[in-house]
Amino acid sequence: MTQSLTLENINAHYGTTQVLEDLSLHIAEGELVSLLGSSGCGKTTTLRLVAGFLEPTSGSIKLGDRDLTRLPAHARDIGLVFQTYALFPHLTVRDNVGFGLKQRNITGAERKKRVDTMIERVGLGELADRHPANLSGGQRQRVALARALVIDPPLLMFDEPLSNLDAKLRVDMRVEIRRLQQANGTTALYVTHDQEEAFSISDRVAIMKGGKIMQLDTPEVLYSQPANAFVADFVGFDNMIEMEAVAEAGDAVRAQMAGGVQIDLPKSQFTIPSKKFLFATRPEGLLVEPETGGFGIPAKLGMRTYIGRAYQYHCDTAGGVVMANGPQATPFESGSAAMLVPQPEQCCLLPTES
């Protein structure tokens, strides 16, 4: 019953403001893809377009072979879980869950059986006759989940489903969502602004900005190989140093940063994307070593903080202030000169934003 979702060249506007720009996205059968980004990036708009609450200016939305683009929302057959849960306050848990089946004219014993099974599956058997007002936030979200799943939809969509829950419950619920989604093998589109949440449960994540997908990949690839400066910054590459390739030096490319400081980047470990590029790392990608004149970026150490597994330093370099980690065994004094040695597997060379 599960189906793939395909968005092709979607453009959407609110009045004259363009909120989605030529967006294309394919979610395979049974796959969970998250749309991740800050507010206003277009992630919720995308979800509402697929749900049928908004209409795109152009482009097409397909669920399996079915063209949804101009289909009314109630005919789309999509399970939706809302941030505010959106349970029917005047109905019991049982009637909330049964609502979708009732619309499909599934009555009597079959409806009862499907509803009861689903309520059991989300662990709310005891609470079936309660009204939503008498449930906790987590229980409400379970009812919302059961209500969306019971109609056995070809596509499930989540709109920030956990942001009204407290931290502990958020982790439990996202595991629960993933478990149920995988057990059913349902294709899912998940909207969130929480990076950890998106990375932990998704097969693939689309990082969005200004109505466009900046990068769509597995969490692992996004985390270690961001494709551009925006994504790099988003996933925690705090250090960005502007560099320019100035010469070949044997097996290495000689790169120059502000102030004329040069560093040789071995070709075997670094691929230069363009003449001007950004050298991006997390703090653990730059290792603080004594000044020896070898491979590295010369720096003057500033404030030192202890972060448990290492010391972290604010470092003044020619390319600006960067964060770097140093070994626990040999702490450096503030003010001393040091060499920041890039760890190639934790560094990225990115094209500069044009």
Binding site: A51, G52, F53, P72, A73, H74, A75, R76, D77, I78, G79, L80, F82, Q83, T84, A86, L87, F88, P89, H90, F99, G100, Q103, R104, A144, R147, A148, I151
Partner: protein, 262 residues
């Protein structure tokens, strides 16, 4: 710790209550007076004047008219007011802001001006029969109450509930009746009652729109007072007051009075 209440505050409170309730006590007293003229304090006690209401056909007839008018007028205003309030709450961003104020106009325009213009337009202009003109007039003057009270309910309604219903396969119109209406029920009841009482007690609009053979209770009361000055007037007033109090008591019991002031 005991809270100290300033004596002046106590005096002011008592005076306010006397001012508000005093006239009502006078009316109730006069209605019970065993005299053929209005007087207070009552001389002797009798329920004769209450019985008298039902012996004067003009009162029983107009009482019927008033109740029918209040029910029909309020219902008509609901049929217009609920969709209007829904549209304004649902499409708050898309719709111009002044729309909400348009529906309050019947309260803002001096009643006598409104009454006169309704007479000119409905009765003289369109030549509507008296009953129909009264119905339209009453629906119009109670519209602000229905729109505002139902609107208050809808403003706190989470419209994603409606979207949830739609996503589960329920068409928009059906979703309105099965999911939206049951959840703004309290607002509808409250709006209905406020509108009902307003219509029942209206004088200024009705006085322009009533005519030969068709009148409402408050208008009949005025007419009666011009000819007779017996305690029947007071007893009718007490009866109207009683209906209002009874309705309020029902609201208080079922929804809480805060509902009306929200």
């Amino acid at each position: 710790m005991k809270t100290r209440i300033h004596p002046v505050l106590i005096v002011l409170t008592v005076l306010t209550f006397l001012f508000l309730l005093g006239p009502l006590v006078v009316i109730i007293g006069s209605a019970l007076s065993d005299t053929t003229y209005l007087t207070f304090p009552p001389q002797g006690l009798t329920l004769h004047w209450f019985a008298n209401i039902f012996e004067i056909s003009a009162f029983t007839r107009t009482m019927g008219t008033s109740f029918m008018l209040a029910v029909a007028g309020t219902t008509l205003s609901m049929l217009i007011g609920i969709p209007a309030a829904y549209a304004m709450a649902r499409y708050r961003i898309e719709l111009p802001a002044f729309l909400g104020n348009v529906f309050v106009l019947p309260i803002l325009i001096p009643e006598i001006v409104l009454g006169f213009s309704l007479m000119k337009s409905l009765a003289s202009g369109f030549g509507l029969p008296i009953t129909l003109a009264l119905l339209v007039g009453h629906a119009l003057i109670v519209l602000p109450y229905t729109v505002r009270v139902v609107g208050a309910s809808l403003n706190s309604f989470d419209f994603s509930i409606e979207e949830a219903a739609v996503s589960l396969g329920c068409p928009r119109i059906k979703a309105f009746f099965t999911v939206v209406l049951p959840n703004i029920r309290a607002g509808i009841i409250a709006g209905f009652i406020l509108a009902f009482i307003t219509s029942l007690n209206d004088v200024s609009i009705s006085i322009f729109l009533t005519g030969p053979g068709v009148s409402t209770l408050p208008i009949q009361l005025l007419a009666h007072m011009e000819q007779f000055f017996d305690p029947t007037i007071a007893s009718v007033s007490v009866l109207l007051m009683g209906v209002t109090v009874a309705v309020m008591a029902v609201v208080e019991r079922t929804l809480g009075l805060t509902f009306l002031t929200k």
